[in-house]
């Protein structure tokens, strides 16, 4: 029983990172209809910013998260405005090709700047934790879950309560009508992608505290973001939160099967995705449109 509880808690804690990775990806997919293959690369950019600020200035990694968000927002805005806007109405395949190309460019720029060594962010409290009823809870994991929930809540608030958020809803619902009430589509697209990138940056900062990163470490996160968003359901931040936590749980239980290791965990996670697509294509929390 204690082992079960421990698995649930570890799963939820691990899920925090998946929530952070998923929300930005889901926003870009839901609003712009772009499956952003550069998402993992943006995550890693955030990771390197956190690493750089931590090693160069000794800044607490959690304090670097807002810097990640702002820097990645600017990068994402510029990317969308300058590059991706050109194919916004093109068939899905073009968006795959272009975002995959962007992914390659970002990864190689990172390789040029930082090389291919493993980098990790290890503040004094990393590896420490507290015990709660016989279960060890690592500080970093708990705080990163909190940060991911805060990030999601902030994004949900922005989307539902602010002028820019309502314009994002409007362009998602009907682009033609949106521009005829005075919404600048190219700007709104770029803000949407910028917000998605900002979330990716925060996720990267969290990931850098949990595992060592290299420029090529982002690819699994693109894939995981995809699964998380499908699990939860497209179109709502809260759905992605559920999807991310579910993914963390499934992974934790998958890894606990004796002799399975992480390969088996992935198989279970993707198996679950297929199962969800077959039985509930709108996702666990999604609404049919």
């Amino acid at each position: 029983m204690a082992a079960f509880v421990q698995l649930v808690i570890l799963g939820l804690l691990a899920g925090g990172v998946y929530v952070a990775v998923g929300v930005g990806f889901g926003l870009v997919w839901g609003v712009l209809n772009i499956v952003n293959l550069a998402h993992g690369a943006l995550v890693i950019v955030g990771g390197y910013i956190t690493w750089q600020l931590f090693t160069a200035f000794g800044l607490d990694p959690f304090l670097t998260l807002p810097v990640d968000a702002v820097a990645l927002f600017v990068l994402g805005y510029a990317l969308q405005r300058g590059v991706i806007n050109r194919i916004i109405r093109a068939p899905l395949l073009f968006t795959f090709l272009l975002t995959f190309g962007v992914n390659l460019v970002i990864v190689n720029i990172l390789l040029l700047i930082f090389g291919s060594d493993f980098r990790s962010v290890t503040p004094t409290y990393s590896g420490q934790g507290f015990e709660l009823g016989g279960i060890v809870i690592p500080y970093v994991r708990l705080a990163s879950l909190g940060a991911a929930i805060l990030l999601s809540a902030g994004l949900a608030f922005l989307l539902s309560r602010t002028r820019i958020g309502l314009s994002i809803h409007a362009i998602a619902a009907d682009r033609d009508a949106a521009q005829l009430v005075g919404i600048d589509l190219r700007h709104a697209y770029a803000v949407t992608y910028g917000l998605g990138a900002a979330c990716a940056g925060v996720a990267g900062g969290l990931i850098a505290m949990i595992q060592a990163i290299t420029p090529t470490a982002g690819e699994p996160y693109t894939l995981q973001a995809f699964v998380v968003v499908i699990l939860g359901g497209l179109g709502r931040v809260s759905a992605t939160v559920v999807g991310g936590l579910a993914f963390g749980l499934v992974e934790a239980f998958g890894q606990s099967i004796p002799g399975s290791g992480s390969v088996f965990a992935n198989a279970i996670a993707f198996g679950l995705m297929v199962l969800v697509l077959v039985t509930r294509p709108q996702g666990l929390m999604g609404r049919l449109r």
Binding site: A172, D174, A177, Q179, I183, D184
Partner: protein, 253 residues
């Protein structure tokens, strides 16, 4: 009070081609501030294309469109909206994931300079506008729960919430029954009474005669006739365009 010095909207030789076909061909007319003008014409006459040109969703091939004396040809649609031209679609395009109030509020949040006043203000303006078009009681309904006439009202509400000086209505009466048309006519009159200039496309003759002070008849992209609705509708060329030569002759004899 209707005759202003420079017309609010002025089209000069507006031409739009699709391949070899000129959907709109050398159309010129003026709309005075505060006027209410109807554009009629058979299917394919170029009415919607003309509205698309004015609202900036389609680029002109030739000619010029002026709003209060300055050219708006080639300006992107969101800028045209901010300059104060509101627009509805014949096939309604509500923001389906939102409530009725949110739909109208989007118009108020963006729209023209007169509309912008923050999120809370936008929702207040949205409620005013919903009252005007008769949707106040359904403000919290999701769009999917609305009937077709109500969706058309919402389309108008969202455009009115942008606080336009000129409102383009694309067949807001199409598909409505007689009673519903009467209600919609009252709504158009109410909107016009707030001081908005209205340019509307309509198929239903009753609408043109009922609310418009002036009618412009389009046929194959040309202006066939313009003037007072009663006069224009008796014009032989207009009857011919609508009903064919044989009926025009029969009516005459």
């Amino acid at each position: 009070m209707s005759a202003a010095v420079s017309p609010q909207l002025e089209l000069r030789g507006v031409t739009k081609r699709f391949g070899g076909v000129a959907a709109v061909d050398g159309v010129s007319f003026e709309v005075a501030k505060g006027d209410i003008v109807g554009i009629i014409g058979p299917n394919g006459a170029g009415k919607t294309t003309l509205l698309n040109c004015i609202s900036g969703t389609q680029r002109l091939d030739r000619g010029d469109i002026r709003l209060n004396g300055s050219s708006i040809a080639g300006i992107s649609p969101h800028r045209v909206a901010k300059l104060g031209i509101g627009r509805t679609f014949q096939i309604v395009k509500p923001f389906g994931s939102m409530t009725v109030r949110e739909n109208a509020a989007i118009g108020a949040l963006f729209g023209s300079a007169q509309a912008r006043r923050g999120v809370a203000g936008a929702f207040a303006l949205a409620d005013e506008v919903l009252e005007l078009v008769g949707l106040r009681a359904k403000a919290d309904h999701p769009v999917s729960a609305l009937t077709i006439p109500d969706r058309k009202r919402l389309e108008v509400a969202r455009a009115v919430a942008t606080r336009p000086q000129l409102l383009l209505l694309d067949e807001v009466m199409a598909g409505l029954n007689n009673v519903e048309v009467d209600d919609a006519l009252d709504m158009v009159r109410a909107v016009h009474a707030t001081g908005v200039t209205v340019l509307l496309i309509e198929h239903v003759m009753r609408v043109i005669v009922g609310v418009c002070r002036r009618a412009i008849v389009l046929d194959f992209g040309h202006v066939l006739a313009q003037g007072e609705p009663e006069v224009v509708l008796r014009d032989e060329r207009v009857i011919q365009a609508y009903l064919g030569e044989r009926y025009a002759k029969r009516l005459k004899s």
